[in-house]
């Protein structure tokens, strides 16, 4: 009996949910929001993978959601060792990321890279380059359209460069499938912003009311 079970557990096609996420070397990056961390497998943002954030309007708190984690990435504990690591690339941001505010959030400004491609295809290309280069700890991408194929490419590039890809997409993308390891949506709630986990590799869908509170 135990033998059969063991065999079954070794079958890669068997989805083992939370256990597998917990026992692998998947160590999440603490988001800085304890309420959220509790619901993310690995206790934080999935690293080396694609995270999708779906939102109705820009400014719903999508940046504040990421800031504590990005601040941590941009300031490696040992500066001398990670000379080139920890770059944060912003690809095709809809407005100007404002450095004084980034500084207030504790981001190391000398690790910020802002890329403004002229076309959507260049956005994807730049994102892939940044992700796979191995320099960027995180790559933030603003995209209107992202098909399954492209999301898979981003996911692969993130794995290759051991980087964290974050794609911001409109709510309309809800119905599309995606290769992202984590998909969340931000909805304005009665008390602050609600965060819905739509898909989480190794986790469960859940809705968090006022995630920051």
């Amino acid at each position: 009996m135990a033998d059969t079970l063991e065999k079954l557990l070794q079958n890669p096609r068997l989805w083992r949910g939370r256990d597998q996420a917990g026992n692998s070397n998947w160590q999440g990056l603490p988001s800085g929001y304890p309420k959220l961390d509790r619901h993310l497998p690995g206790g934080g943002w999935p690293q080396r993978a694609l995270t999708e954030i779906l939102l109705e309007h820009y400014g719903m708190g999508e940046l504040q959601l990421l800031m504590p984690a990005l601040a941590r990435l941009s300031k490696p504990e040992d500066h001398e060792v990670s000379d080139e690591a920890g770059w944060i690339a912003w690809i095709a941001p809809p407005f100007q990321p404002y450095p004084p505010a980034l500084l207030q959030w504790g981001i190391n400004l000398s690790r910020i890279l802002i890329v403004r491609p002229r076309q959507e295809s260049e956005t994807l290309w730049s994102a892939e380059q940044a992700l796979s280069s191995g320099n960027c700890a995180a790559v933030l991408i603003w995209l209107d359209a992202l098909d399954d194929y492209s999301s898979r490419r981003l996911q692969l590039a993130a794995e290759k460069g051991q980087s964290w890809a974050i794609a911001f997409r409109p709510l309309a993308a809800l119905s599309q499938s995606s290769a992202a390891a984590l998909r969340i949506q931000l909805i304005s709630g009665e008390k602050g912003t609600d965060l819905g986990i739509l898909k989480s590799r190794g986790g469960r869908p859940v809705v968090l009311r006022d995630y920051a509170g």
């Binding site: 708190g61 999508e62 060792v81 941001p93 207030q104 280069s133 602050g192």
Partner: protein, 550 residues
Amino acid sequence: MTLSPEQRQPQRSRVHNSGSSHNLRVSMPSPKKSPAILREVSPTPPVTQPSLAPVAEQATLWAAPARRLWLCIYLPGLPHQAVRDTNAKEAMAVFEDKEGVRRILLADKEARAAGVVPGLAVNAALALLPTLRLQERSLQRERQALETLATWAEQFTSFVSIEAPDILLLEIAGSLKLFGGLSSLRQSIATGLDERSFGGLLSIAPTPLAATWLAKAGRRACIQEEADLAGALSELPMRCLGWPGSVNESLSGMGVTHVGDALRLPREGFARRFGAARLLELDRALGRLPDPRQSHRTPERFCSEYELSEEASASDLLLNVCQELLIELERFLLTRQLSVQRVLFSFFHLKEPATHLILGCVQAGRNIEHWFDLLKIKFDELELSAPVIVIRLRSGQSQALTARTSKFSFNDTGRQQSEPIAHLVERIGARIGDESIHGVRTVAEHRPQYAWMPADPAEVAVPSYWCEERQRRPLWLLPEPRQLHLEQGAPVYQGALKLLGRPERLETGWWDGDGIARDYYVAVNPAGIHIWIYQDRRSKGAWYLHGIFG
């Protein structure tokens, strides 16, 4: 007893100097034939005394002359090498035009087999071998080939001297250790010459002239000690010295056919008959006199051309050629420990003006893979007006390569650090435009729109100034403030706005004509979006949206 110039020094100085190699050389004549020219100086002051006197003095002054070793590369086939076409298969000969008479200078193996020998008239050669391909000698191309070879030879030593027309001298005493000894160095030079199909004769001697003569005589000699020089040179025929025919004739008339014979002649008589310069030349060859040489200075900038055999526009082919040129550039930079920040490709067409392509790189480098990546990206966008016939690569200002030692770390984070960030910046910049990728830094300025600046991402991080008190700032800033609609006198943004907290008044910048007088508020709309708005105190209280807290 007669005294050599050296021996005529004061006795004290001799004793003092007895350990120097110079006196050692005098006291240890070569075992075979002693250079009698040293001894048989007549007591009367010789004609050449003014020029000989410094010898003794210099010998005393040289406390410890550094040991030198010269490797001579003699390229007798250079005229042929410089003009040959590697693709052609027919027999070939190089001719020289001397006062209207065209004579064969050099012939290759097949031509020689047919009886075409140097000195033959061109017409006679053609009669012997009608398929013979004839090329006129080109001194310019010989010089070019020699310079290219000198540049190549600089990888073995820092001192390469071009001795026109067909000789290179390399000072190799300092390189022996690096290249693992004399024989291995000699072997790698010989292999390199073979790869470039230069049939060269190599010989090694402590003085440049001796090495040259030995090479010209076809001896693959390797003499390391000055004491052995006289013996080795004695066996050389006089013609390898390259002296004028008249001198050689009168010498052979005296029965002097070898260098050893000349060395036995009395110095005075020799100098009177053939000129002091010839005597000095012998002294230099034997190491009795210093023989300074001029080092070949290679150009600081790289410039190389590749001529296609026919016009081409296929990008694969052109890229291949470009890659060849880049590899050449890399070799150039590697031997000089240089790096470049900018290279220029020029594509020449037959009838159109040339197309230029400049590649720039933030961090000076010499890694051609990176240049090639940039080239491929740029090449896609390049529009060639016509097929290309010649491609030229020139490097910009080069600078000394600054090497960085990487730190050894035990707690490796596992993130692959294969390339510096500058490479990523250049790659993206090459495709979408350099102005579209930048870093940021803050500026000590109260006006929100001026409180930051784009920065060069590759520059070393400068400390950011942010000395303002910690007033909350939005993560998104609108490029231009957007005027808000008013409903019943209050601003709205996707619904009625609720102002949070007290206003922050910014009134500054009056000195440069771009002053502001604004009251900034943090406001929240019904959807829960926090925004940064201000009331302009100058334009009748109009409201503007300036940032989103995100």
